[in-house]
Structures are given as structure tokens and as C-alpha cells.
Amino acid sequence: MRTSPICVWSQVNSERKMAALRAGCWARALQKAKGQGFKHMFFGARTAAGLSKDALPGSYPKTPEEIAAAAKKYNMTVQDYQPYPDEGMGFGDYPKLPDRSQSERDPWYSWDHPDLRRNWGEPMHWDFDMFIRNRVDTSPTAMDWRTMSGTLLGFVGFMLFMFYAGEVFPSYQPVAPKQYPYNNLYLENGGNPEKEAEEVKNYKI
């Protein structure tokens, strides 16, 4: 494709500008860090993401101002924002969202991430990885919990009881040990032919 000389020139110029910008950034960073020392240049209070320290979760909010700031940080209304109780379990100011799985959300709405049924920037549940659609599902069931658990436990309990009763009171088909003719096969079993075998009667009339 033939590019006009002007396009090529502007492209080269913009690339040069980008390179100059990057070099300028490095120079500025080095100048700033020179005063604070080697450690601050590389291990300074800088998160890997673009977020600042106050956009990350903090400790449990106590005053109403802290609560309002935390609600704003997590993109929630002050009414909805409710931190986990402060019992030292390590939650900090992370919001306590209702325990609803992602499969309960509207499948027809145009989510930003349709497989997760979640919009960008929406506060995530603490157990979000448990509530994805492949895992725990809290959607309403066909019948209520008591009926379901009653039916299952009833059936399993009944079967267990019946098997136990079958162990205690066994019932077999009527069978008896096999009966052999010719005095219990006296000669075949190696009995002496001269000797007279004792009469074995396996029947009773």
C-alpha cells in the first residue's frame, strides 16, 4: 500500500514523540527517586495496578465519614454498604453482600461479562469464586427445602431400616443340603465293596 509522504512523516514524528515522552518519563522518575534512595525507586508505595492506596480495601470503618468513604470506594450506596462485623476475622471494610449466586441473575440482561453475569466495576461478593455458575447455586428450587429433605431422608431412612430388618430376620428360599443316592454314594466315596454299608434313608414318607 502506498502511503503518502506526509502520512509517513507524521507517523515517524509521532513515534519519535512517543520515544521522547517515554525517555522524559524515565528521566523524571530517576530525578525524583534520586533524593529518596535506591529502595524507594523500586519498592516504593506503588501498587502493581493503577489503583492508589486509598482505593484498596482498608480497615473496619467506625465513623460515619469512614462509612461514606468506604461506600463510595466500593461503588455502593451508603444504605447498601454494610461491612462484615468487626470480629477480627480479617475482612476489614469489605462489604457484606447478600449470599446470592450468579445463576440467580437475569440471563437476558446485557452484562459486561455475560458468563459471570457481572458488570464491570460491580462490587464482588467475598465468596464470588464460590458463587459462579459452575459452583454453588442459590436459585429458588422447585419445592421447598423441607419437602425435599424430608423426602430424601425418609426414603434413605426407610431403606436403611428395611435392610437392617432383613439382617435381623433373614428369609431364604426353602433349600436343603444336596442328597445323594446309593447310601450317600458309599462305593464312589471309597467304601469297601465287601463290607455292607449302613442303610441311609434321605426321605421320610
Binding site: 495496578a49 444504605q79 458488570n119 467475598w126
Partner: protein, 127 residues
């Protein structure tokens, strides 16, 4: 569905929530509008970044970053209380002693049986 009852793993869908069609007070409406405004703002931010033709990198989600940070930095907000100490003892200390007791008694009994010659080895592939 009028007799639908909630359960620990089964929630009430929003369409069966009476508040959605009975209790439409101005405060409720205002709260819903606030939530809608926040949602719309986030949608706008995302769409601007998504449809930016000069964007070359992934769109970073701060909510995801916060979630990851919260889940990995639990110890910074840990505090020894009665509840946490009890849980720590229950899950960290008790199993050690419990399983030691169970396994030791079981193996000692087996050893006694082997010594006495009463150990039944039928249907045993290993010891």
C-alpha cells in the same frame, strides 16, 4: 407460587418480592435511582474504555483488584479475639491431638492382635 418459602440455599427471586410491587414509597424509589445512577456511571466508564480505538491494553477492573487484595491480605486485619482463637484451636490444634489418639489406639490394637495371633488377614491386600 404464593406459598413460596425461602431456605438457606434457595432465595426469593426479585419478582416474587412483595416490595417490588406493593411498597413503592418515594424513599425506596430514590434508593433504586441512586443505585441505577452508580450502575450507569460504571457502565459509561467501561463502554468508553471498551470502544476506545487507541486502547491496546486490557481494561483493568478496580473491583476485581480490590477483591483480590481483600482475599489475599486477611492477616493485616486479623485480631486475636475469643472467636478467632476458638476457631484457630478447633481447626489447627484439636485435629492434631485427635488424629494422633485415634491412629495410635488403632495401631496399638492391631499390634496386640498380631502379637497374640488373632489378627484376621482375610481379604487384606496390604498389612
Amino acid at each position: 407460587m404464593a406459598d413460596y418459602k425461602e431456605a438457606p440455599l434457595a432465595s426469593r427471586p426479585k419478582t416474587l418480592d412483595p416490595a417490588e410491587y406493593f411498597n413503592l414509597s418515594p424513599e425506596y424509589r430514590r434508593a433504586e435511582e441512586e443505585r441505577a445512577a452508580l450502575r450507569a456511571n460504571l457502565k459509561r466508564q467501561y463502554q468508553i474504555q471498551l470502544n476506545n480505538p487507541l486502547r491496546k491494553e486490557l481494561i483493568e477492573d478496580p473491583a476485581l483488584t480490590r477483591w483480590t487484595y481483600a482475599r489475599t491480605n486477611i492477616y493485616t486485619h486479623f485480631r486475636p479475639t475469643t472467636k478467632t482463637s476458638l476457631l484457630g484451636a478447633l481447626f489447627g490444634v484439636v485435629p492434631l491431638f485427635f488424629w494422633f489418639a485415634v491412629l495410635k489406639t488403632d495401631r496399638d490394637e492391631r499390634e496386640e492382635k498380631i502379637k497374640a495371633g488373632t489378627y484376621d488377614r482375610t481379604y487384606k491386600i496390604s498389612y
